[in-house]
């Protein structure tokens, strides 16, 4: 029927999941892309120095200072641009780390089974039974407030869902014939995992991770908001909202960094959802 002839751009367009091709998906993808690009070049293109305290204090949004200035005379707009690297960059880092840690534990548990599985899964239960924010908070407080420690703390609470999902995928794979036949051919456990299991687990796990970026950004900015992440001069968005709490009437100080977090989280959540609906309509990785 109509499938016969399509131009190359049209075919590429159609290869994109429908959820992302939809108008809202396009908007999300564009904004997400902008944030990722800013994450790379943000600090270089700020109109003012994000750390310099050389502007009039409490300047409302205007021509020169697009989003106003804060209590130390720093340009809020420049700080948001520079902060993309911190918030978005670290969220991406956190997701990758949680995925790696969770997947390794999940694969090991699912593949080796028995007491290894039992031990890992009970440990996973333990971490999941622990109140997330409180565990992250204790860890961050114990390690000392720094961005790196905030990521570590967030990592400790973020890996368990990956471990669970990956484990259940491995369990179902392990009984597939081709995996069993690989073992019969004399594949070592490592080779069996590498050749037969990882490629099949990777897709769903990546989809799950993409839907997790927003959550990661929320958790990290929340820790910074509590003063357990970024240290004061750093233009981290959560920390910026936090310092705005004391300057209530200067609404621009808190509203814009918050909106920045919101747009990042919405975009990545939306894209993650669309990907998940497309690759995993039954929601197995939810």
């Amino acid at each position: 029927m109509a499938e016969t002839r399509r131009s190359l751009p049209s075919r590429i367009w159609r290869a994109i999941p429908p959820g992302i091709r939809a108008p809202l998906g396009v908007v999300s993808a564009v904004i997400a892309l902008v944030w990722v690009v800013l994450c790379l070049i943000g600090p270089q293109i700020t109109p003012h120095d994000p750390l310099a305290q050389n502007l009039p204090l409490y300047q409302p949004p205007g021509v020169d200072t697009l989003l106003g200035t804060d209590e130390l005379g720093r340009d809020v707009f420049s700080r948001i641009l520079a902060g993309a690297q911190v918030t978005v960059g670290l969220a991406l880092l956190l997701v990758v780390m949680s995925m790696v840690v969770g997947s390794v534990l999940g694969v090991v548990a699912g593949f080796f089974g028995r007491w290894v599985d039992e031990a890992i899964m009970r440990f996973t239960d333990l971490v999941m039974a622990f109140p997330t924010v409180i565990l992250a908070m204790v860890t961050a407080a114990a390690l000392g407030a720094s961005l790196f420690n905030a990521v570590l703390a967030a990592l400790i609470v973020s890996w368990p869902p990956y471990a669970r999902v990956v484990r259940s995928m491995v369990l179902s794979l392990r009984h597939q014939e081709y995996v069993a036949s690989g073992r019969l051919l004399g594949f070592s456990p490592l080779k069996s995992i590498g050749v037969d299991i990882l490629p099949n687990v990777a897709g769903p796990t990546l989809v799950m991770a993409s839907a997790d970026i927003g959550t990661a950004a929320l958790l990290l900015s929340g820790l910074s908001f509590l003063g357990l992440g970024a240290k004061p001069p750093s233009p981290e968005w959560g920390a910026m909202v936090s310092s705005a709490v004391r300057h209530f009437d200067k609404w621009w100080m808190g509203v814009f960094p918050g909106l920045a977090i919101l747009t990042v989280v919405i975009c990545f959540n939306f894209l993650g959802d669309a990907l998940r609906d497309y690759f995993d309509p039954k929601g197995a990785t939810r």
């Binding site: 809202l24 899964m121 009970r122 239960d125 333990l126 971490v127 039974a129 622990f130 109140p131 997330t132 924010v133 409180i134 565990l135 908070m137 204790v138 860890t139 407080a141 114990a142 390690l143 000392g144 967030a154 609470v157 973020s158 368990p160 869902p161 999902v165 484990r167 259940s168 997790d212 927003g214 959550t215 990661a216 929320l218 958790l219 990290l220 900015s221 929340g222 908001f225 509590l226 357990l228 959560g238 909202v241 936090s242 705005a244 709490v245 209530f248 009437d249 808190g254 509203v255 960094p257 918050g258 977090i261 919101l262 989280v265 919405i266 959540n269 939306f270 929601g283 197995a284 939810r286």
Partner: protein, 368 residues
């Protein structure tokens, strides 16, 4: 708020401790008791695990709890430090310290906070009701609205209503709670002046006599209308903020559950019998969707408890979150362990309660 553990599907299908319903048919009383017993034992181990993890975290790290507790200046005086260490048993070897803690724990003694110098149990007994008040109010509002939205969205699948509701719920879970709290505070208190400021009561209004510790309930019990109105007004903003987030979460999960049920053959069979839509929904759809939704509501409640940390700090609400935050940032070990234990107990009891509730909802796992 960030809460990766609230993904229900990752929850139970991979839990080997759950009974495989259906296959076994009607399970006997004894089997259920055995199962619950096993769950209880596991729960106790998990709780010990929580104390152990907290203990290790707060001890094997660079931060110095003594300095945090007595202040930097005093910490430079070796005599003060030694006295402090001796008083709280910190001079003992770590395994000994932990054993002492457990020994007291089995007598329900949670120790004394280094910060407040009160028994942790006493601090918790005032903080918990304050948090529960918000959490209950928020979960009830969010569950009702979330389930209605979820069902509505699922019935209108793909239509404009569905897309709007999906978008709204996506925004709901994407808003940073702490930012939302500030925006609400700014708009409703600072700009519009229709909400009261922070705290649980306006200064000058005296707290109702302690019964449950929840001011709204206690005020009603005491018949103190003025205190009730004031407490309810103070409760409204924090509840609103937590509700908004939870609505998003519950709408999304209940939509998925409803969609799954709507696609099921038994719902098609009910429609094929010519039953009116109302009957199909209330008798067939809701009943089946109730199980997964119940799970999510339980988990969402658990996440609300730890989510209050961010909200309470903004509304100066003297609840569990504020207490946890203060004790964590001061490395007040015993207080942190107390909070962790309590939230752990709540989390595990919710899971247990959900399991038992399944028995009532689903005949395949019914008792007897």
């Amino acid at each position: 708020m960030p809460q990766p553990s609230v993904s229900p599907a990752s929850g139970d299908n991979s839990d080997p401790a759950l009974p495989s319903a259906g296959r076994q048919g009607r399970r006997s009383h004894a089997a259920l008791l055995r199962y619950l017993g096993k769950r209880l034992v596991i729960s106790v181990f998990l709780l010990f695990g929580i104390t152990l993890v907290t203990f290790i975290l707060t001890n094997l790290v660079p931060g110095d709890p003594v300095a945090a507790a007595v202040g930097q200046r005093a910490a430079e005086d070796p005599a003060v430090v030694a006295a402090f260490r001796a008083k709280y048993g910190l001079d003992l070897p770590l395994p000994q310290q932990y054993a002492n803690y457990l020994a007291r724990l089995v007598q329900f003694d949670l120790g004394t906070s280094w910060q407040t110098h009160n028994p942790v149990a006493k601090d918790l007994s005032t903080a918990i009701p304050a948090t529960m008040e918000i959490a209950f109010a928020a979960i009830v509002c969010a569950a009702i609205i979330g389930v209605v939205f979820g069902a509505w969205s699922a019935y209108k699948r793909g239509k404009i209503t569905d897309q709007v509701l999906r978008m709204v719920s996506l925004v709901g879970i994407s808003v940073p709670t702490f930012w939302m709290a500030i925006v609400c505070f700014y708009v409703f208190y600072y700009r519009l002046g229709i909400a009261p400021g922070s705290g649980r009561l306006t200064p000058g209004v005296s707290a109702p006599p302690h019964v449950t510790g929840m001011y709204t309930v206690d005020a009603l019990l005491a018949g103190d209308l003025r205190a009730f109105v004031d407490a309810a007004a103070h409760l409204s903003l924090p509840t609103l903020v937590l509700t908004l987030y939870t609505i998003g979460l519950l709408t999304r999960f209940s939509r998925t559950s409803f969609l799954e049920v709507l696609d099921s053959v038994y719902v098609r069979a009910a429609k094929a019998k010519g039953l009116p839509g109302r009957t199909v929904f209330f008798k067939y759809v809701l009943r089946a969707a109730a199980i997964p939704i119940l799970t999510v509501v339980g988990l969402a409640f658990g996440s609300l408890l730890s989510g209050t940390v961010l909200v309470e700090s903004i509304f100066s609400w003297p609840g569990l979150g504020s207490y946890a935050y203060q004790s964590a940032s001061n490395l007040d070990l015993l207080a942190v362990m107390g909070v962790g234990l309590f939230v752990g107990v709540v989390y595990l009891s919710i899971n247990l309660a959900i399991d038992i509730a399944y028995g009532f909802i689903d005949p395949r796992v019914r008792v007897g």
